[in-house]
Symmetry: C2
Subunit: 395 residues, 2 copies
């Protein structure tokens, strides 16, 4: 087959041509009114993405992990203790980051593939009275699970801890209402719902977090949010920004605004639902108990060589799915449906799964997956729980 590569991976994700063109326009210098204008215009756009009027959003030239590190470095002192809600490889990163800075952690253990029970968070906070920060993950990309941040926030608010959310694959996909829910700090990366290449990380801070930021005593320089705050006020950045990516981000958020953030959320719910139904129709099982809309993690059927299956789809058909990470390697594969994607992409993904399974000798009823996806897509079906439409704040 003629290969036209499509990334069904949970970041990087397909780039809209408008965004690629913006990236390719002639370079400008960043210490100029022209670039400051972009920084200025992006402020409200990014606050809208995180659904915060009270907060500010800071843009780091880094991967999403960089912004996670900034959370740790800016919110804690050497004597503080953090609570990490586990459940996957990305949640575990919060523990690793705390350990790197010598910060003690308690954890809420969650089985891979499951979402945390808010009651378990409450129990942990009751047991550990000295928790300064709760680190949570909205979408656990390694397992495809969506944690209920709204409910977690309700619990955390009862205690004197701050809630920090890794929403790296959540922003622009799932509702994350920072002000309404009381999320103090949240982060995302540029190569997910934001539809641009990797290289930028966004960190949103509500005023509730500033006392801790001022008091923090961990080493910080590049990640120092005080520098970010002071320079953003002047519509600039402390260090050289990734100019082309910032310009690309402006184009991408303009696209999101044009589509409407609520519609973007609904679109992801709709695509995820169709993917899940199609995969189930093929006799496969979902890995996540409470699946997110970023990706569908699928349990590998018995006897399927997942690595060979994915390699074949990539090499023969240009279809990139993600495999399982570490312990999950060989046991699951992950179909991402995030960012610049529509119904026809879902059909392509499902068609590729059918094709790959068929060619691997797995007994599959050819056409059943695509027909099921088509039915869900065409009837505009979305899962019940996604119908509750949170209203985004006005821009």
């Amino acid at each position: 087959m003629l290969k036209k590569p499509i990334l069904f991976t949970p970041g990087p994700t397909p780039i809209p041509p408008e965004v690629s063109l913006a990236e390719a326009t002639p370079m400008i210098h960043h210490r100029t009114p022209e670039f400051s204008r972009i920084i200025y215009e992006l402020k409200d756009d990014l606050k809208h993405l995180f659904q915060t009027q009270e907060g500010e959003v800071y843009t780091f030239s880094s991967s999403g992990t960089g912004a996670m590190e900034a959370c740790v470095a800016n919110l804690l002192t050497k004597k503080d203790k953090a609570l990490v809600i586990l459940g996957g490889k990305f949640a575990e990163r919060w523990v690793e980051l705390c350990e790197a800075y010598g910060v003690k952690t308690a954890t809420v253990d969650v089985k891979y593939g499951e979402a945390v029970e808010p009651a378990a968070v409450e129990e942990a906070l009751k047991k550990n009275k000295d928790i300064k920060v709760v680190f949570a993950t909205q979408c656990e990309t390694s397992t495809g699970v969506l944690h209920d941040i709204e409910s977690i926030a309700k619990v955390v608010k009862k205690y004197s801890a701050l809630l920090v959310v890794d929403a790296i694959t959540g922003v622009g996909v799932h509702p994350l209402l920072m002000d309404a829910w009381g999320v103090d700090v949240a982060v995302t990366g540029s190569q997910k719902g934001c539809m641009i290449p990797p290289g930028l990380a966004l960190l949103a801070v509500r005023p509730t977090a500033w006392e801790a930021i001022e008091k923090a005593d961990l080493p910080r320089y590049y990640w120092d949010l005080r520098k970010m705050r002071d320079t953003l006020k002047k519509d600039t950045t402390p260090f050289t920004p990734a100019i082309s990516l910032v310009r690309a981000l402006k184009v991408a958020v303009d696209m999101i605004k044009k589509e409407g953030l609520e519609n973007v959320w609904q679109r992801h719910a709709h695509m995820a639902h169709a993917t899940r139904e199609a995969v189930k129709a093929l006799g496969l099982e979902l890995y996540a108990q409470r699946p997110c809309n970023i990706l569908t993690a699928v349990k590998a059927p018995k006897g399927l060589d997942v690595e060979a299956f994915l390699k074949r789809l990539k090499n023969e058909y240009g279809i990139w799915f993600a495999e399982g990470q570490e312990e999950m390697k060989g046991k699951i594969f992950r179909i991402a449906h995030v960012g610049y994607m529509n119904d026809f992409d879902i059909l392509t993904a499902v068609s590729a799964v059918e094709r790959g399974l068929y060619e691997a000798g797995y007994p599959v009823e050819i056409g059943k997956g695509v027909a099921t996806a088509q039915k869900c897509l065409l009837k505009g079906e979305i899962p019940k729980e996604a119908k509750k439409k949170p209203v985004p704040a006005p821009l």
Copy 2:
């Protein structure tokens, strides 16, 4: 739905990103060794496309119609008579061109949607002993019919006429073996099987046509093939060429060579077959009796407002099909599957047809079209008549 426009139109067709990037590289001047090198390298590539070792291929900065005009202006004298094989809007253009130059024509009349019987061509040639040139069309894009050029050539060879083929949508899609079949002149445009934007026309001339070219007395300047011949020998062009398009063409033909011309032909046969089967599974009828692999012309079901149907697909979903031209307007729609297209694109096209019909209130079994297409695509089905694999000449 998030719109990601896809052109299922019979030119322009989707552009490979590699081609777009080549087009966007910094401009170079054309009276330079750098540009001459491209012209030089393209010579063999283009001869391969037309399957001629004996001939040469000339590149005009024009639409395909320009190259058709060049055929008329270069091959005939005021006293000559031409025979035109009709059957659609593009075949009729040969008559219009002859009339514009004051050249008398006889015609072989063919009903829209049908292919010419080679016997009818023979009959016309017997009746009109003074035919100098026979103008034929390989793929009649307006009706989706494939004419049997090989058989037509066999007939024409028995008479002293030249055979000129409009292969504008044929080259790079259907076998056209100029040397083996004895086609004297053939033309194509750049925005079809060549996968680049419109703006170039290719005109292939076998040595058999040069006597007529030398004797022709119709007015010609831009289209003068003698100028083209003399400059091509020096790896240059008589007038300023469309530099970025020529560079894009080099990249595109390299892609075709890499895939293999036979594989390109087979891919189109495979995609066309799946589209036809899917459309029939939805209860629709094909318009062409002998369908080409460029596009599938579909009879509009009773009561369907074709214009509204196509407009909705375009505006809501970014899917561009073509409507019928003139007399066929409102009666058919055309799904092109030509150029930079693969199996997943066919699923998208079929899904869009299902969707559009369903939303127009036409009784359609949702999922039947995509499932049928998937079955054909996955099993690598190609129609019987396409299995006869003509071997392309070596490069």
